[in-house]
Symmetry: C2
Subunit: 254 residues, 2 copies
């Protein structure tokens, strides 16, 4: 008997941004693994079991969930945002790749969700309206040299840059260093959007020009979007500023 493993994303935390597909996976599951605050977003029944873990224990969590699914249970791993973007889906695949052969026969269902950069972008207009990239600023799982190289090439390419995992207690200086590096390649007035808890009651969205962007504005739950040289700000009309990156660049056919 083999069970099933769902890997779902709740979106950034606004219940209105969690899809019906994710709700269906929750209803179909008996055992829930994930970072405690993400499990707290679900309304579980008495027959449904919570297995919370710390947010740095991804591989152990993936292994525990796979072991339980291999035993025939209906298991759900819960990520915030989208499970495929710097989250649990890759950890589960890695565990399957390196784990016991029988894990390969478990039915795996990944359910997409609204990832943070999309929710933050929506709150300010359309900063991701043209080519963009997403980079995790954590040097726990890759070297800082690689991060610097990617930031530099992304700026040279003209990508809008979304930064995930910008800061933590153990990584206090990386974001400031990233801003410093990008100032060498991008105009000082390039908009930087700090988005936290987008769409939730405690939402905080702050826009600063790159030249004056302060890393201290961000915490570990902040997603940061750094514009390209094309990104523009619209103000006036008694409304909050809008930030957008135009669809077109000089040199197109139309």
């Amino acid at each position: 008997m083999s069970g099933i493993l769902f890997v779902i994303g709740t979106g950034p935390g606004n219940p209105e941004q969690m899809t019906p597909e994710a709700h269906s996976a929750v209803s179909a599951s008996t055992d829930f693994f994930g970072y405690g605050p993400y499990l707290d977003r679900l309304q579980l029944g008495a027959h449904q079991n919570r297995h919370p873990s710390d947010n740095r224990e991804e591989m152990r969590r993936a292994g525990d969930a796979l072991t339980m699914a291999a035993g025939g249970r209906k298991v759900c791993i819960v990520s915030g945002g989208d499970p495929g973007v710097f989250a649990m889906a890759a950890a589960v695949c890695e565990a399957i790749d390196t784990g016991p052969a029988q894990w390969r026969s478990i039915e795996l269902v990944v359910v997409p969700g609204i990832t943070a950069m999309l929710a933050v972008a929506a709150r300010v207009g359309a900063p991701l309206g043209h080519d963009f990239c997403a980079i995790s600023l954590s040097d726990n799982l890759k070297s800082w040299d690689i991060i610097e190289k990617r930031l530099t090439l992304a700026a040279k390419a003209g990508f809008v840059i979304a930064l995930y995992n910008p800061v933590s207690k153990a990584r206090p200086w990386q974001l400031g260093k990233a801003f410093e590096l990008l100032r060498a390649h991008l105009p000082r007035q390039t908009p930087v959007i700090f988005g936290r808890a987008a769409g939730r009651p405690d939402e905080r969205i702050i826009i600063q020009p790159l030249g004056d962007a302060h890393a201290s504005v961000a915490d570990m739950a902040t997603c940061i979007i750094i514009g390209s040289p094309e990104t523009r700000i619209i103000s006036g009309g008694g409304r909050p500023e809008l930030v957008y990156t135009p669809r077109s660049m000089a040199g197109g056919n139309k």
Copy 2:
């Protein structure tokens, strides 16, 4: 009197992937603008008016919708996927930026959705599990030189690459040229995922190695994900192949 303009994303077409927030925006609106097939995804009431348009008329559609919202109506522009990723939110911002001053006072509400690359990624595992970029392959709105430069820099950066708008009747050769270019920078066995109608009954997902990837597999509704040199394939267990990009790279602190 000023109305309101919602800009929503339906997700890739599976009704289970459209958020409650997007449904609420539909319920609150009286007039709907968008590409006809996207409007067809909504179940509208008798008091709700459809204003379909061709998918190449974004700026006119944005202007028409803003004009109606400025007149006090509750208007909804409908995108597939996420409205902020190569879709209508940027066109609306551009129209506000360059249009009559009173458009700046319209209440604009952008509602995020599941963008194609997240839905395609979920169906095959976690190919976007590490740093990635999204590039529109259309040279209607930017020059082909810029696209080639961005593809090259993205490959050098080690990003997984998601391609939107890979091909159309007027753009038949661009995708083949992009594969040719990337073969100079990436291993021939790099997985290429062609994802069409992810999560819908007519879903088609095809995985080919970059060395043998055929542009003819794609049409205008296909989202393509090209792995990085780190991206791996898992097979066996009687299940479809899984594709994932590990969270870690050599040289991290853990």
